[in-house]
């Protein structure tokens, strides 16, 4: 099995206040901590579990700054074999289709069976990159995968649907799977493992190295224009309905009717 796992270095916005910069288009990230995107962490673990079960190789692929190498080394400490980090300011990385195009450009000339990536990114939350990547590579895909079974020349993917339904698909390999959190329990990357992973191959490349035309992945090529970022204002307070159950139900129904909601 040859697997690529695509990961992203994202800010953790849960512990620091999010502030929009005066340009209205970027966020002040000076107080954030950065780490691997949560769903991508599960994708790394799944790729390593598949390798441990079926043998083969796992390559890490990421678009990100030098600082993200700690995340890549941690993935290699867990069992991934080598890595490619793409760094190029010309990439319009706010657009998931552009990101997918770059990732596809890094993968397309190589043999592979599977590409795993998280089903969404904690920062922009588009949920589009993995599916677009499959399209660019011209291979099958399944999204929101909660269980993977590798079969002979195929993969059985259990997809989490709305309302708790699970859909089970069999896909011919090669295929792209976007991994849902909770599919496994990601392991810890011990420091001794991270140190050993320093010896593993990590290639840093730009668009020229990947033979990607910058004009195709620049802001001009993007169909997504970031107009403005803002923190939504709290528009109204919550209303607590008091009284006996019947009374509360009546008041609630009345509010819904008055508001034209039913």
């Amino acid at each position: 099995m040859k697997t690529f796992v695509c990961i992203k270095y994202v800010p953790d916005t849960s512990e620091a206040e999010v502030k929009v910069n005066p340009d209205g288009k970027t966020v002040d990230d000076s107080r954030f901590s950065f780490d691997i995107n949560d769903a991508d962490n599960y994708a790394v673990e799944e790729s390593v579990l598949i390798k441990e079960d079926k043998g083969g190789e796992v390559d890490v692929l990421s678009i990100g700054p030098k600082q993200s190498e700690v995340m890549i080394r941690m993935a290699m400490a867990k069992g991934c074999d080598k890595a490619t980090r793409v760094e190029d300011d010309r990439i319009a990385d706010h657009d998931p289709l552009i990101v997918a195009k770059v990732l596809a450009g890094a993968i397309k000339d190589q043999e592979f069976d599977l590409v795993l990536t998280g089903c969404w990114a904690d920062d922009d939350g588009h949920m589009a990159t993995g599916v677009a990547l499959a399209e660019y590579l011209g291979v099958n895909h399944a999204s929101m995968v909660k269980k993977v079974e590798v079969l002979d020349g195929k993969v059985r993917a259990h997809r989490e649907l709305e309302g708790g339904l699970m859909e089970v698909l069999e896909l011919e390999l090669p295929a792209v799977l976007t991994i849902q959190t909770g599919i496994n329990e990601p392991r810890y990357a011990p420091i001794k493992g991270i140190r050993q992973a320093q010896k593993k191959e990590l290639n840093v490349v730009n668009l020229d190295d990947l033979s990607i035309d910058p004009a195709e992945v620049s802001a001009d090529a993007s169909q997504v224009v970031l107009e403005n970022l803002y923190i939504p204002e709290v528009e109204s307070a919550a209303e607590f309905i008091e009284g006996e159950t019947d009374e509360k139900a009546e008041k609630l129904a009345s509010i819904l009717v008055k508001g034209g909601l039913v």
Partner: protein, 378 residues
């Protein structure tokens, strides 16, 4: 685990054990878990059994209180056999998610609480705090501790310390934002590589400062720096030693009285590991109006609160009464109004236990520095 030249038996001096049972006889955890440290010391001699031993859940019940080490007539540290077994699990990466996240947070953010480094000094907001500059001489260089920095319940320890230092005219400075975890819990969880890195990085960082001594606010940092940092050039003391000095020198002025019965809980990392028993008691007795009570299990025999040894991130499988609950019940029997301690972990575990038992109306758990903030002119 072990180096090529050193076996597990050699590393922990297992052949030195005479199986006298002093370790298990004093282990506070045995009343609520199946942990039998004497058996582990015995069985770990068989290297082929190590993997099997490392998989036993009870190795995570040890709170690293060091009672076994204090009682061992051969000067061994039986608890470190359990830490050695934990390190085998840590190296496999298959630890509890809570442990994984805490360790990773130490590596990436310098604290085990998954908080951003940039927020480490947020507790200083609104306070006039002196920050140390490398090379500039200062008498007392303060190391705050991750828990005191980030946990809103115990930030009061650091805040009150600053107010008292400013009022008493002490020559002091706090470390800048680059201050990182001392590694106490990293060591006891068994992440040997991360702990080695912590010792190297913190030694280099702290040695850049020109201080007469480092003052820690947590007993865990206090004992860890004194025990595991051989190349640290500064002596290390706990804040209760400094405050005791200030009281002896008449530098603190009291305001009002605290006519309450206080029982002092000896934190394991301050008392039985650090040998600091009298200073906290003298401080409490100095507060006008205080009547100081004593637990039956005090000083070297103090009952562990179960906050150390990585236990803030590992839940015991035992459903027996928590030791912190036992401690609070003992305080109730003594009719204590306040249970005082000088350790962030003890405060958090004891207060949880007090609330769980429903004693909030009649009892209070307080950091000594919390009481000082209320009764010292600042």
């Amino acid at each position: 685990m072990t180096t090529e030249s050193q076996t597990f038996t050699e590393k922990y001096d297992l052949l030195g054990c005479i199986q006298c049972g002093r370790c298990t006889g004093g282990c506070p955890v045995t009343v609520r878990a199946d942990l039998n440290v004497r058996q582990f010391v015995n069985d770990a001699y068989d290297e082929e059994k190590l993997d099997e031993l490392a998989r036993l859940a009870e190795i995570w019940d040890c709170t690293a209180c060091h009672t076994c080490a204090v009682r061992c007539p051969k000067g061994l540290k039986p608890l470190e056999v359990l830490i050695g077994l934990r390190s085998m699990i840590v190296e496999s990466g298959k630890v509890e998610p809570t442990v994984r996240d805490a360790l990773q947070s130490v590596l990436l953010e310098g604290n085990p609480w998954e908080k951003p480094r940039a927020a480490r000094q947020d507790w200083m907001e609104g306070l006039d705090v002196r920050i140390a500059e490398p090379g500039e001489h200062v008498e007392n260089l303060f190391f705050v501790c991750c828990t005191n920095c980030y946990d809103p319940r115990v930030q009061v320890t650091a805040k009150n310390m600053v107010k008292i230092l400013n009022k008493a005219g002490v020559d002091y400075a706090f470390l800048p934002e680059d201050e990182s975890c001392c590694g106490s819990e990293v060591f006891t969880i068994g992440e040997e590589g991360l702990f080695e890195m912590t010792v190297e990085d913190n030694t280099e960082f702290l040695n850049e400062f020109n201080a007469d001594r480092i003052v820690t606010l947590s007993p865990h940092c206090f004992t860890t720096y004194r025990t595991h940092f051989p190349d640290l050039k500064h002596p290390v003391i706990h804040y209760t030693q400094l405050v005791d000095e200030l009281i002896q020198e008449g530098k603190l002025a009291w305001k009002g009285e605290l006519p309450k019965k206080i029982v002092y809980h000896d934190p394991c990392y301050l008392g039985k590991q650090g040998g600091i028993f009298d200073e906290p008691r003298r401080i409490l007795k100095s507060i006008p109006g205080v009547e100081l009570l004593e637990f039956d299990r005090k000083r070297e025999r103090s009952l562990c609160c179960e906050g150390g040894g990585g236990k803030m991130w590992v839940e015991s499988e035992s459903r027996q009464e928590r030791l912190a609950e036992t401690r609070i019940k003992n305080a109730k029997e003594l009719e204590a109004d306040i249970v005082a301690a000088a350790c962030p972990f003890c405060i958090l575990t004891l207060e949880d236990a007090m609330k769980g038992l429903g004693y909030e109306e009649e009892m209070r758990v307080a950091e000594i520095m919390e009481l000082l903030g209320e009764f010292v002119e600042a």
